[in-house]
C-alpha cells in the first residue's frame, strides 16, 4: 500500500511540463492527486516518472470571458465551489461539486484531474457533457481544441496523447434565459454517483427552445440524450413532457456490475432525468 519507486518532477511552467512529457516514457501527471494517489498507493499504476503540476503557473484560475466560463485545469474544486463567477454564470457546476467527494478531497481535487481521469460516474464530466465544454490541450506540436463530445474515447480514457496536457476547460454560456439542475443518487454522500444527471433548459414564451440532458454513471462515459433533447424542444415545460423524457431515459444504454444492475441504472436514469428537468424548468422561470 505504498507507491512504487518513481522519479518526481515538479515543473513550474506549461512549457517545462510539456518538455518533460516529451523526454520521458511511462509518465503520470499528478494534478490534485485524489484519484492518482490512491492508484499509486495501491500500485494499480507504477509509473517510472511522476510530473507534479501543482507548481505550474497559469494553470489555475476562473475567468468570465464574456461568452464562456474559462477554468484552468488545475483549479481546485473548493475554489470552483466558492467562486462568485461560477455561482453567477454556471451555478450547475457548483451544484454538482457539492456531490464530489468531501470537503477535504475538494481542497486538493482539480477539475482537470477529474476530466482526465474520466470516471464514468464522476460529476464534473457529466456537467462538461451537458455544457458542450471545450478543452484546450497542449503538446509538443502546440495547442489543440477538443469538444467534450470528442473527449472520452473509451472507459476512463480521454482523448489525450501521452505527451499532451489538458490546460483549460471552457463552458460556453447559454445566451438564452435558462435554468439548470444537477441531481444524483449515490449510496452515501460523497460516493461516486450511481446515476447523476445534468440538465439545462431554455424556456421562452412558455416553450422549451433549447435543451441539454447528460447522464453520468450509466455507461462508460457521460451520455447526452439527443432523442430526449429533440423531443423537448418546442414542447411546453410540464409534468407530462418531463415524464415522457423520463420514460425515454429509461431506455438508456446502461452497465451492470456486482452492485447495480442495468435495470436499476435505467430506472434511476428515468427518475433523475425527470427530476432534473422539472427543477431546471422551474429555475428557468425564476423559481427554485
Amino acid at each position: 500500500m505504498k507507491p512504487g519507486p518513481f522519479t518526481y518532477h515538479d515543473p513550474t511552467s506549461v512549457d517545462d511540463a510539456v518538455a518533460l512529457l516529451a523526454g520521458h516514457e511511462d509518465v503520470k501527471l499528478l494534478a490534485g492527486g485524489q484519484s492518482l494517489m490512491p492508484m499509486l498507493n495501491m500500485r494499480f499504476v507504477v509509473p517510472d516518472h511522476v510530473i507534479d503540476l501543482n507548481g505550474v503557473a497559469d494553470m489555475s484560475g476562473i475567468a468570465d470571458t464574456g461568452d464562456a466560463l474559462a477554468i484552468g485545469a488545475m483549479t481546485r474544486q473548493c475554489d470552483l465551489a466558492s467562486s462568485e463567477i461560477v455561482a453567477a454564470r454556471a451555478p450547475i457546476l457548483r451544484e454538482a461539486l457539492s456531490f464530489v467527494g468531501h470537503f477535504q478531497t475538494r481542497n486538493r481535487g482539480t477539475i482537470g484531474g477529474s476530466l482526465c481521469h474520466l470516471d464514468p460516474a464522476a460529476e464534473q464530466p457529466t456537467v462538461a457533457a451537458a455544457y458542450d465544454a471545450e478543452l484546450t490541450i497542449v503538446g509538443p506540436e502546440g495547442t489543440r481544441e477538443v469538444a467534450f463530445a470528442e473527449w472520452p474515447l473509451a472507459y476512463m480514457m480521454a482523448n489525450l496523447a501521452p505527451d499532451e496536457l489538458l490546460t483549460q476547460i471552457r463552458f460556453p454560456y447559454w445566451q438564452e434565459a435558462h435554468g439548470a439542475a444537477f441531481v444524483e443518487f449515490a449510496r452515501r454522500h460523497g460516493d461516486f454517483a450511481i446515476i447523476g444527471v445534468a440538465a439545462l433548459l431554455a424556456v421562452e414564451d412558455g416553450k422549451i427552445t433549447r435543451a441539454s440532458v447528460a447522464v453520468g454513471g450509466a455507461d462508460v462515459q457521460p451520455l447526452r440524450l439527443a432523442d430526449v433533447e429533440t423531443m423537448l424542444v418546442g414542447a411546453a415545460p410540464g409534468d407530462a413532457v418531463f415524464a415522457e423524457a423520463g420514460a425515454m431515459a429509461r431506455k438508456i444504454d446502461a452497465m451492470s456490475d456486482a452492485y447495480v444492475t442495468t435495470q436499476y441504472r435505467q430506472r434511476l436514469a428515468g427518475v433523475l432525468v425527470e427530476r432534473a428537468l422539472a427543477q431546471a424548468a422551474s429555475r428557468a422561470t425564476g423559481g427554485e
Binding site: 485524489q34 477535504q104 481542497n107
Partner: protein
C-alpha cells in the same frame, strides 16, 4: 536508485528539514520521519479520513499527498491543535466531554476535520455537521457523540469569538 529530495515543512509552527524519498506520502512522513504518530493511517486510499491534517489551513488527506508536495508549506497535525500549555482545543474538549471517541482511531482525522469545518461554518446545523464528517469513518461511536461534540464546540467557539 531512490529518488530523494530535501524538504522543509513548517509542522505545528516549527520548521522541519528532512530528506525524503519522493514517493513518501505526507502521512508516513509525519509518522515515520517526524514520529508524530497522532495522525493515523487507516485505508491509504482516501476513504477513511483518519489521516486528515491541515495544509496551509485547509483540511486534506495526508495519505493522498506526497511529502515533497508539502515542501515550503505549513502543516498542522492533531498534535498542533492544543495550546502549548496543554489546554485542549475547543473541539478536543467537546469530544472528550461528549464521548466523541471510543477507540480513538478515527479521532485525529475527525477532530482536525471538525476544527477546519467550524472555522468556515461557525453556526452549523446538525445536518451540516453530518455532511462535514461524511468523509471520516468511525467504526465505534455511531457518530452521535461526534455530532454532539461538534455542535458543542461550535457554540464554545462562537462564544470565544
Amino acid at each position: 536508485m531512490a529518488d530523494k529530495r530535501e524538504i522543509t515543512v513548517t509542522i505545528n509552527g516549527q520548521a522541519q528539514t528532512a530528506e525524503v524519498e519522493t514517493r513518501t506520502n505526507l502521512a508516513d512522513f509525519l509518522r515515520h520521519e517526524l514520529e508524530l504518530t497522532g495522525t493515523h493511517v487507516g485505508c491509504e486510499h482516501g476513504v477513511c479520513g483518519a489521516c486528515t491534517v491541515l495544509v496551509d489551513g485547509a483540511a486534506v488527506r495526508s495519505c493522498l499527498m506526497l511529502a515533497v508536495q508539502a515542501d515550503g508549506h505549513e502543516v498542522t497535525s492533531v498534535e498542533g491543535l492544543a495550546a502549548a500549555d496543554g489546554t485542549l482545543h475547543p473541539v478536543q474538549e467537546a469530544f472528550w466531554k461528549n464521548h466523541g471517541l471510543q477507540c480513538g482511531f478515527c479521532t485525529p482525522g475527525m477532530v482536525i476535520s471538525v476544527a477546519a469545518f467550524l472555522k468556515d461554518n461557525p453556526n452549523p446545523t446538525e445536518a451540516d455537521v453530518r455532511s462535514a464528517i461524511s468523509g471520516n469513518i468511525c467504526r465505534c461511536t455511531g457518530y452521535q457523540g461526534i455530532v454532539a461534540a461538534a455542535l458543542e464546540a461550535a457554540e464554545t467557539m462562537r462564544q470565544e469569538g
